[in-house]
């Protein structure tokens, strides 16, 4: 808690204390902490003289901000047109079942974040799954198990 508070105060010190700084501060907090915690919302609100509701209202509007700590690894299943045609949807269903986490959430053990992405720009290799910064091409449900097991 202490370390989190310290990095929050560092971030808040870098911006003028006015409502207009809200989005840059949120971005910076997320870069430092990986997510926007309840404490962060409280501290930001106090620093900018907003209410927590106002800060949270703005933050939750944007898809780029998350409110839960990031998991150790992030899995992104591409559901763009090409990947969709080649079975991306099935991969997603499979992963949700295997990991026991719905799309857009994390596994309870904090191992994986499960998300979708619209296109990774390598449609010829579809369907594509990205884990952290590793790209896996022509993934099948059989291959998927091996990929997932490679990350702890």
């Amino acid at each position: 808690m202490g370390a989190e508070n310290q990095s929050l105060q560092t971030v808040l010190g870098q911006f003028p204390a006015e409502a207009g700084s809200l989005i840059p501060i949120l971005q910076s907090v997320q870069a430092h902490l990986g997510y926007i915690s309840a404490q962060a919302v409280c501290e930001i609100a106090q620093a900018l003289r907003l209410t927590e509701s106002q800060v949270y209202g703005v933050a939750s509007f944007y898809a780029q901000f998350r409110f839960t700590p990031p998991a150790r690894h992030g899995i992104c299943v591409c559901l763009g047109t090409a990947c969709h045609v080649r079975g991306g949807e099935r991969l997603m269903e499979n992963l949700q079942r295997e990991l026991g986490a719905a799309m857009g959430t994390s596994t309870s053990d904090g191992r994986f974040d499960l998300d979708r992405v619209a296109c990774l720009g390598c449609c010829a290799l579809s369907p594509v799954v990205k884990v952290d910064s590793d790209i896996y091409s022509s993934v099948t449900t059989m291959k998927l198990k091996g990929i997932v097991n490679g990350y702890e």
């Binding site: 919302v41 003289r49 209410t51 927590e52 949270y56 209202g57 939750s60």
Partner: protein, 772 residues
């Protein structure tokens, strides 16, 4: 300004929007998000119009009206657009009330002569027949749904105080979000997420209470649909009558209007358009008054204790019993306790009763504790809220604006928005905290020292300590400074010296001292009754010098003191252990007619008009006194005349001065501190009372917001102490221990324990306590 709307040349006020211009000329353009107290929003897209020379169909509410503008509000294009917009809204908003094919016949079959209650017709929404969406749909002519429905199926949020939230009925007009932000400046509500996932509420899953909601009800008033509804009158239907009245729950005496249905006050609203105003009421004026009047425990019939037990009697027998019991008791052995929530007429009649028939001057009130007399006399002399709103610098000292004194907290917010500097010194966060340039939480036991330091610094007798530098600088720079004092100042050690010092800087700065207090007519009581100090009368009672007690609208004793006769006159039954001999049922706030003395400044009266009749045999207090006077042989007992009331003006000044002299405030000595104790217990006398009765005992919502004799603990402290909501903590101070239930509250500063205490008798300064 002249413009043409639908072919007619009309004039409108400068600066009007097209929608305003149309409304000024009685032309109806359907609209839902637009609201007279809110800035234009353009969210609902229902007020679309065509304007010559402008592309598309702009919304009338956000389009500025201009000279010579030609506006069309009823063309086929706008009609079909509005229809489409409504269809989109209704695809998410359950609308059986609009499209039920049986609705025309249903009404005529709803009358039933069966002997048992049967449900006929649907009651699907608390706003049925007063719903603005319903009205808009009818005016646009929507009779069937053309789009597939996708209802959101959200759970109804009914677990919190005073109002229910059914966001399935929400149309996202943002009126609630905007009134909370723009007018009340609380910003508790905001839109969360976006698109079809949007919901309205505070951050995360926080409760409204934790998010700082004051429960002022402004959002409920302006909601055009059934999404927000008062628990208290959810199914009461439309108002039959709106009766102007006055809230009697504190010295601010806010104007209100009582919503009357079937001769019952079902709700109270701020003055003005009942659907259209956020107003300035606090939770008590908005949500508590109706419950107080309608409570099932209200006293309805006089009762007399006889050998056979408690007997219900009529007024003749009740007043005969009073006369009988008081007969032969000398005046010096009779004591009267009177409530500062009585009207002047009641108080003047009581004075007559005391002077002419009972011959007693042992008249007092519990409202003036030894500690608070000085503060109250300052309150009488203080200017009104205008002084606060126009002040360039405001310092609040131990003022608690939570769930009370809304006009005061709003005046501070407005002053800050106009550029005033505001400093808050105290133990609690309140609605004004966000507006403070700085908040100072005094160190445990250093409260008085901090005020003294501030005084020294401002008067130039000391160099600025780092802690007070900015406050001192602001005070020096400001042309005027207004001090807002809370009742907490009265219980500090050396309160007298501190108050005198604050007076001095206020004078130095040509400023003012403002001190709102929790009593509706305390100045009136002081003027009409010239009460004795409470402690003097209490001493007489304790020492067996009193034979008969007449308690009017107060509850000074939990247990029967050593007296022969107790007469109890109030709206609710007395405590059982008081064993009252005669109980007289009195009328409540909405059932009385008369006047209140305005709580501050020049002597002025404020008229109160009864909205409904009292229940059962209950009568207004002066009528009860008049009956008693007659029973005791007095003649020609009428209401006090206007001259009699205005003659009180000079008494008010004299009595207020006497009050000061009579209550030599010594301030309580600091209680012995516990060794190495880390927590400070802050005790405030519960100000949430009416006629001596704790609102929390009668109103469920208040029991949660302002629980009495419950420790409010900062969540961090609670985590360290390992306690949760509802657990118990034992507080030790000066060798005494007492367990209290615990409530977690983010408003309390760390290391403080906050307590609303039931009585002022044992008021102590903030004290370090041991905690287990």
């Amino acid at each position: 300004m002249k413009l043409t709307i639908d072919g007619a040349e009309l004039s409108a006020r400068d600066g009007s929007s097209v929608l305003d211009a149309a409304q000024q000329n009685d032309i109806y353009i359907p609209h839902l998000c637009s609201h007279p107290e809110l800035s234009p929003y353009g969210g609902c897209r229902l007020c679309l119009v065509e304007v010559d020379g402008m592309p598309g169909c702009p919304p009338a509410c956000t389009t500025q009206a201009r000279e010579g503008m030609v506006v069309h509000t009823k063309t086929d294009a706008v009609r079909s657009l509005r229809c489409e917009v409504l269809q989109l809204m209704l695809s998410e908003h359950p609308a059986s009330c609009l499209v039920c094919p049986e609705s025309a016949e249903c009404a005529s079959y709803q009358g039933t002569i069966r002997k048992v209650g049967v449900t006929t017709g649907c009651r699907y929404c608390p706003k049925d027949s007063v719903c603005e969406l319903q009205a808009a749909a009818k005016s646009v002519g929507v009779t069937e749904l053309t789009l597939p429905t996708s209802y959101r199926d959200l759970p109804v949020e009914s677990g919190e105080e005073f109002y229910d939230r059914d966001y399935n009925l929400c149309i996202f007009c943002a009126r609630c979000v905007r009134i909370c932000q723009e007018q009340r400046q609380a910003a508790v509500l905001s839109f969360r997420q976006r698109g079809h996932l949007t919901t309205i509420g505070p951050a995360f899953e926080m409760s409204h209470r934790d998010a700082g909601c004051e429960f002022c009800g402004a959002c409920v008033s302006v909601c055009p649909t059934g999404a927000l509804s008062e628990k208290g009158r959810k199914w009461a239907g439309a108002a039959e009558r709106l009766a102007p009245s006055v809230c009697m729950l504190c010295s601010q005496q806010c104007d209100i209007q009582a919503v009357v249905v079937k001769d019952h006050v079902v709700a109270t609203l701020p003055p003005g358009d009942p659907r259209g105003t956020g107003g300035e009421l606090c939770v008590k004026g908005r949500f508590c008054l109706a419950d107080l009047a309608n409570h099932p425990d209200r006293l309805r019939v006089p009762t007399v204790q006889t050998a056979e037990g408690c007997e219900e009697v009529d007024w003749d027998r009740a007043t005969a019993a009073v006369a009988e019991k008081l007969r032969g008791i000398p005046g010096a052995r009779i004591a009267i306790y009177a409530s500062p929530d009585l009207l002047l007429e009641d108080l003047v009649t009581l004075r007559r009763l005391a002077d002419n028939v009972l011959h007693t001057d042992n008249v007092t009130t519990t409202a003036i504790a030894p500690e608070s007399g000085e503060l109250l006399s300052r309150s009488f002399a203080s200017p009104g809220l205008d002084a606060l709103a126009s002040s360039p610098c405001i310092v609040s000292l131990f003022f608690n604006g939570n769930y009370a004194y809304s006009p005061t907290t709003l005046a501070i917010k407005r002053a800050v928005n106009k550029g005033a500097r505001y400093f808050q010194i105290g133990w609690l966060r309140d609605p004004t905290s966000r507006f403070a340039s700085r908040r100072v939480t005094p160190k445990p036991g250093q409260e008085a020292a901090l005020v003294r330091d501030l005084i020294k610094v401002v008067s130039g007798r000391a160099s600025d300590s780092a802690d007070l530098a900015d406050i001192a600088e602001a005070l020096r720079a400001a042309e005027r400074t207004t001090f807002l004092l809370g009742m907490g100042v009265a219980c500090l050690p050396e309160a007298t010296e501190l108050l005198a010092a604050i007076d001095k800087i206020a004078e130095l700065k040509r400023g003012a001292v403002v001190a709102p207090h929790p009593h509706a007519n305390l100045l009136g009581l002081v003027a009409a009754l010239r009460p004795k100090p409470r402690e003097d009368v209490e001493r007489l009672v304790r020492n067996g010098k009193i034979d008969a007690l007449w308690i009017i609208g107060e509850s000074p004793f939990e247990k029967r003191p050593p007296v022969n006769v107790v007469i109890y006159q109030n709206t609710f039954p007395p405590p059982e252990q008081l064993a009252a001999d005669v109980v007289l049922p009195a009328a409540s706030w909405c059932e009385v007619t008369g006047s209140l003395a305005v709580a501050h400044g020049q002597w002025r009266l404020k008229t109160v008009q009864a909205a409904v009749r009292p229940p059962g045999l209950a009568r207004q207090d002066w009528e009860i006194f008049a009956k008693a006077l007659e029973a005791m042989g007095a003649r020609d007992v009428g209401t006090p005349s206007a001259e009699e009331l205005s003659a009180l003006a000079k008494d008010a000044q004299r009595a207020a001065a006497a009050l000061l002299a009579g209550h030599q405030v010594h301030g309580s000595a600091p209680a012995p501190a516990e060794e190495d104790a880390r927590h400070v217990l802050v005790r405030e006398v519960n100000p949430h009372r009416f006629r001596g009765l704790n609102l929390a005992d009668y109103i469920e919502g208040m029991a949660r917001l302002t629980p009495e004799e419950t420790l409010l603990v900062n969540p961090q402290d609670a985590a360290e102490l390992g306690v949760r909501d509802g657990d118990s903590l034992t507080v030790t101070a000066g060798g005494q221990s007492r367990p209290y239930p615990v409530r977690l509250d983010r408003k309390v500063a760390p290391a403080r324990l906050y307590l609303l205490s039931s009585s002022g008798g044992d008021m102590v300064s903030p004290v370090r306590v041991g905690v287990r």
